[in-house]
Each structure stands twice: as C-alpha cells, then as structure tokens.
Assembly symmetry: C2
C-alpha cells in the first residue's frame, strides 16, 4: 500500500485547484444574483435560479477526489486534515451556490414591486461576503492562518450591516404598508448574505484547523 | 498497519453512538427553544441562548474519533463512507444547535411584544423538523436507506407550511403595523425550522451515499 509521495502531492494539488475553481464559480453566482437585484434584470435572476450544472459537477468531482485520496494513500496528520478540510469546504461552497439561488428568488419577488429604496448597504454586504469567501479560499490554498484569522475578524462587519439594514427597512414598513412585502425580501437577502459570510468563516476555521490542528470553532469554550 | 477488525468495528459503533447522543442533544435544544416561544418563558430562552457546552464537546469528540479512525485504520468502501458521513453529520448537528439559538433569539424578541396570534403552524413545523432529524439519525445508525428516503420526502411539507405561515403573517402586518416587528420574528423562526429540516435532509442524503455509494444530492442533474 505504499505510493510515491510525489503522486500524492500532485493529487492533493489538483484537489486544491478544483476547490479554488469551485469557489470562483460559487462567487460568480452570488455576484450574478446581486447584479440581477441591483439592475432589476429578471433574465439574470432566472439564470441564477436555474442552477449551475458546473457547480454540481465540481462538487461531485471534489468529493470523489477526496474519497480516492483517503482510500489510496491513507494520509495522516496535516495531509489528512487537508483532505477533510476539502470535503468540508466543498459542502460550504455548495451551500453558497444554494444561497445565490435563494438571493435570486427573493430578488425576483422584489423586482415585482416598486423599489423601496436605493440599495447601498446590501451591495456593501455582498462585497464583504464575497471578499471573505475569496480570502478564505486563498488561505486554504496557501495554508495561510493569518489570512484565515483576518476572515474571522470580518464577520462582525457583516453582522452590524445586517442589523442596520433591518432597522432601516423596519422604519419604511411602519410608515408605508406597501413597502412591507418588498422590504421582507430585502431582509431575506441580507440574511442570505450573512450566511455566505458564515460559510467563509467555516472555511477559515477549517484552514486554521488544517494547519495548526487547533479547533477554533468554539472560541468561548474555555479549555476545550 | 494491520489492526484487528473487531477493534475497528467497536470504534465505529462507539462513533455511531456518539452521533446519536449529539443528535438527541441538538433536538432537545430545538425543543427547548420552541417551548420557550410557545410558553413565553424568557428563562428557558436564555438557557438556550447561553449555548450548550455538551454539544460543543460532543462535536470535538466526534471529529477526533473520525480523524483517529481514518488515520489508524485507513478504512475503504462503506467504512470510509461511514466515517466521512459521521464528519458531515457532525457539522449538520452543530448547525442545528446554532439554529436552536437563532430560534431562541427571535423568540426572545417576540415575547417582548403582544402575541400576534395563537401559534399553531410553527409548532407543527417544529414537530416535523424534529421528527425528520430523529429519523435521519436512526437511518444513519441502522443504515436504513428506506427511512432516509422517507426523510427526503418530508421536506415538502415543511416548505408548504413555511409559505402558509408567511402569507398569514403578511396579512396581519398589512392590517396592523404594530404586528410587523413580532411577525418578522415568527417568519424568521419558520425559516430556522425549515433549515433544521434541510440539515435532516443532508443527513438522509449522507446515509444513502454511505450505504449505496449513490449521490442523491442533485436529483435533477441527469447522468451525474
């Protein structure tokens, strides 16, 4: 059961490359959903809602690569953690793709109404969430725990933007009932974007665990 | 690197037991959050929001068991898939625990207002989501693909309840602006419950993959 280490290293590099590609595809879908919302373009939104065959294929391909690497090379230590991290990141990126669909669905309902307001904070949230995702994946490929930590720190800014959006839209809804329905959809979009940030956070935590074998998921649990 | 197969089988059984325990703890937290909401009990809600050390400890323990089993026994085929399934289910159950907190937070805000209505459909959603989760975990332990498939079929009933809740609350909000804020929190609760159903669905899909090596995540992707 011994295999040439170079072969394993090549396969692991190929796996990392696939994860990066999948990250780019997922991010592109989020961007398209947001663009459809801000430009009120129903066709763009329909395209996002139709789903992405490439993303599904990548997910299955990455899973298969992970299983093959585990079964053939029985890696240990950091190599084992890297493959388990790839399995997890794969799930997170799939969910990001699903959230792009959720955003597009809310946006599709939103553009059926008159605009509630000029969208400023939602595109801002989207920019942050996408950057977090990109940084987390870069951190995975470069095994860069400092960049991963930076991603974890960004989560608070998403949270405070979400709260701000909620408060502002609540004011609109209380003043004018015709804004209730479209405002609800904007609130949902902001929550979907927050969840994309959560997935980026998961990826960053996986990177730290992969490199340092240190579990940072339960920051508050002393001694765990 | 050869190990007695009985030792591996024992360890795998211990892993399954831990996953079941974690499932029960996660489910108990969801139940407590719902109970706090329906009985308007702030103390119960505070307890849920405070988090659950046991759940965090179980998550770390299950992860460690998976890594140890992968590193020491380098399992293949169904055994490898069972361990990867346990890793994934672990993540899903952690999220269910987080969603219990999200439900309790929304409920805490909700009980600060006069009740919008008698809660009927939300407890109904909770019952379905909890049953899906329990069935999915039973299916994992018993390697029962029929039960797993049953869980996948239940997802639609959660979705239609969610839509019904949304429509009903929208009517309240349009008629009486004082119900807007509490109604928003009930809508959030219904979405959190829907997501618990999604996690149960993930578990069920993992079970089918574990037993049949068949990926059922992308039902619509022909030939994938």
């Amino acid at each position: 059961m011994t295999h040439e280490p170079t072969h394993f290293a090549q396969e692991l590099q190929a796996l990392r490359d696939r994860v990066l590609v999948m990250g780019r595809v997922a991010e592109r879908r989020v961007r398209a959903a947001l663009q459809g919302l801000t430009t009120r373009n129903r066709d763009t939104l329909d395209e996002v809602i139709a789903g992405d065959r490439q993303l599904n294929d990548l997910q299955i391909d990455i899973d298969e690569r992970c299983f093959t690497l585990l079964a053939l090379f029985h890696p240990v230590a950091v190599d084992l953690r890297a493959i388990v991290a790839a399995l997890r990141i794969n799930t997170d990126l799939e969910r990001v793709g699903d959230l792009a669909i959720n955003i597009a669905e809310a946006a599709q309902r939103y553009v059926g109404h008159a605009p509630v307001k000029k969208l400023i904070d939602i595109p801002r949230m989207a920019t942050i969430a996408q950057r977090m995702l990109r940084d987390a994946l870069d951190a995975f490929v470069r095994r860069d725990t400092e960049l991963a930590q930076h991603v974890l720190n960004e989560d608070d800014s998403l949270d405070s933007l979400k709260t701000q959006i909620f408060r502002e839209l609540l004011t609109y809804m209380l003043q004018d009932p015709t804004t209730i329905e479209p405002s609800l959809d904007l609130i949902l979009v902001s929550r979907h974007l927050e969840r994309i940030g959560d997935h980026a956070t998961n990826v960053a935590e996986d990177v730290i665990f992969m490199v340092l074998a240190k579990d940072v998921r339960h920051h508050s649990a002393e001694g765990a």
